[in-house]
């Protein structure tokens, strides 16, 4: 490390009170920013859980659908129409609905029920217990072992329950990539059994799951589905549509954005103010350095180094603390929805960079305006 930066480092860390205040400011801001954005990412991820877990390339739906949980049933002929589109390798129906279960001890528990195409079982989850063929057995359901699993009283294969006065039996336990947002356990069964057990409207298909023959066919499939008055979205487009709904039409996004901005302002206030005081307290010393022979760029490098060091250290501690909190929270709160993504990390890093840049800009301006002559004048 160049000597001038070593001096800057020692000036910074040896002033323990200010160094601690700077670190607390940045750490606190990073912690809050990452916590807020991670919660939002967690919510967005869970809101698209069904789309992620089913994994179909193209989803066909009513154009008015906003989220996967609020499907608008499609008439059966749409399935035939989509299957007839050139470029479609196959298309299968999916039932997505909710049901009220009566568990063995008599308590009621609502659950999400996904009905898979009887022929292909397209979108079936990965079983950790049981055999997928057993889904065709009488009253068969597969329970998903996610954070809501315990709400079914941790069922085993053979565990029975009631669903709309029908007997249900757990024949398999499955794992999925993502848990749902609404805190209800998920059951998989066949499409026909779902229709049989759960009261339905005239139209019964929640979504059509489509696999194109080639990636190049996606555009034409979307166009032809649109011509029929329906909407075909790729998996990523559907996830984005759901995310946009939660971001812009529920207030969750605005609230999270506000909290993130408040965190930024708090971090900027604490760190900016402390750094400015730190510079002010050392201003005469910087002037003395200038008089002795330090060049402007050397003083700038000292301040930038100090700001960068504080920012990176605070960022690291903030990320570590937030990760620790999320880890601990998940130990005790299985439903805790928070995911630290690269985007969250980058966003927090960008904000910390802005905090460091503003703090150091103020410091640099102050230091560059001090005249060594002022040091002589006292």
């Amino acid at each position: 490390m160049p000597g001038i930066l070593r001096i800057a480092f020692r000036l910074l860390v040896n002033d323990r009170a200010k160094f601690a205040a700077l670190l607390v400011g940045i750490t606190f801001a990073v912690f809050l920013m990452i916590e807020m954005t991670s919660l939002f990412s967690g919510i967005l991820s869970r809101s698209s859980a069904t789309v992620i877990n089913i994994g179909a390339s193209i989803w066909v739906m009513d154009p008015a659908v906003q989220t996967v949980a609020n499907s608008i049933p499609l008439p059966d002929y749409v399935l035939d129409e989509v299957r007839s589109i050139p470029g479609v390798k196959y298309a299968v129906p999916l039932y997505s609905g909710a049901a009220l279960l009566k568990l063995r001890d008599g308590t009621y528990q609502s659950a999400s029920v996904l009905g898979l195409d009887d022929t292909s079982l397209f979108g079936r989850p990965m079983l950790v217990a049981g055999n997928i063929q057993d889904i065709f057995a009488e009253n068969a359901f597969i329970a998903v072992k996610d954070s809501e699993f315990y709400k079914l009283q941790n069922p085993k294969i053979g565990t029975e329950f009631e669903l709309n006065d029908h007997r249900g039996v757990i024949v398999g336990i499955a794992e999925v990539a993502s848990s749902g947002l609404f805190g209800t356990p998920t059951l998989y069964t066949t499409y026909s059994r779902a229709l049989q057990y759960i009261p339905n409207t005239r139209f019964t298909i929640s979504y059509l799951l489509v696999e194109p023959k080639t990636a190049g066919d996606v555009a034409s499939i979307k166009r032809q589905v649109a011509n029929s008055g329906y909407l075909a979205l790729t998996k990523d487009e559907f996830i984005e549509k759901i995310a946009n709904f939660y971001k812009y039409q529920t207030g969750i996004g605005t609230n999270m954005l506000l909290m993130t901005l408040i965190s930024f302002v708090i971090g900027l206030s604490i760190s900016g103010q402390t750094f400015y005081t730190f510079i002010l307290e050392n201003l005469d010393k910087f002037g003395a350095l200038k008089a002795i022979g330090a060049k402007g760029r050397e003083l700038i490098s000292m301040i930038l180094f100090q700001a960068t060091f504080v920012a990176l250290t605070g960022y690291g501690i903030g990320v570590g603390l937030c990760s620790l909190l999320i880890w601990i929270a998940r130990l005790y709160l299985p439903d805790y929805a928070a995911i630290i993504t690269y985007v969250n990390l980058f966003l927090a890093f960008a904000m910390v960079t802005v905090i460091a840049a503003i703090s150091s800009y103020v410091g640099v301006r102050k230091v560059l305006t001090i005249e060594p002559f002022d040091i002589f004048r006292g």
Binding site: G3, I7, L289, A294
Partner: protein
């Protein structure tokens, strides 16, 4: 004939414009020589500090020239001037301006570090200079743990660590009691002044006049008199 260290000709400096203009230094010329301890004395507002700043390459004059070792310093660029100060001039400021968060050795090593010398080598050199000023045992202490006289010695060690030809001391005894002030300046005279070095001291303190080779008396931005040492005897 002693060799000229500093030659200032026709120096003028004013602050403000129009009716607000204040002339701090007016058409001042002086020479300082190697091996000489030159004092600049005068009442507050007489222009001592302004003159000192101009001859040490810190404050650009409105008129006049300053040559140090035959080199016109105000024709240098800002970076060149900073380099020139770093290698040729040592400063002892009135309030010392030591970094309280660094050790005394680190404070003293600053000019060497600014010269891009290796850190360990600079600290070692600083310790040697602290030994010269009698603070060998204080190298690891922060300046705030030292007395005023000791802090002044640290500032002197910092000023001489890069072996500058010119040493500028601004009110070196202002914060010290009489005995300590005298002993510090006596020490500078005895151990720091040499045939290869010129020392310029701005002071109000008549108790240290005895150490001067020459004394320039300033008033209203001009040199009113040039005296030999022992001015206090008058």
């Amino acid at each position: 004939m002693p060799k000229t260290a500093i030659q200032a000709v026709g120096l003028s400096k004013w602050f403000g414009e129009g009716e607000a203009r204040t002339d701090a230094v007016r058409d001042l010329s002086l020479e300082a020589y190697f091996g000489e301890m030159l004092y600049v004395v005068g009442p507050s507002g007489s222009g001592k500090t302004t003159m000192l700043s101009m001859i040490s390459g810190i404050l650009r004059p409105n008129a006049g020239t300053v040559k140090i070792e035959e080199r016109e310093i105000w024709s240098l660029s800002n970076d060149e001037l900073a380099d020139f100060r770093l290698h040729k001039i040592g400063f002892v400021f009135q309030d010392y301006h030591l970094f309280p968060r660094l050790t005394t050795a680190e404070n003293v090593a600053i000019p060497l570090i600014l010269q891009n010398r290796d850190w360990d080598e600079a600290i070692k050199e600083a310790a040697l200079n602290l030994e010269i000023v009698g603070l060998k045992s204080r190298t690891e202490l922060p300046p705030v743990k030292l007395s005023g006289g000791e802090q002044q010695r640290v500032a002197i060690a910092r000023a001489i660590v890069s072996r500058p030809d010119i040493l500028i001391l601004d009110e070196p005894t202002a914060s010290l009691d009489g005995d300590t002030g005298r002993s510090i300046v006596g020490f500078v005279r005895a151990h720091i002044l040499s045939e290869q070095r010129c020392i310029v001291i701005v002071t109000h303190d008549s108790r240290i006049y005895e150490f001067a080779d020459r004394i320039l008396k300033m008033e209203d931005g001009r040199i009113m008199a040039v005296e030999r040492g022992e001015l206090d005897a008058q």
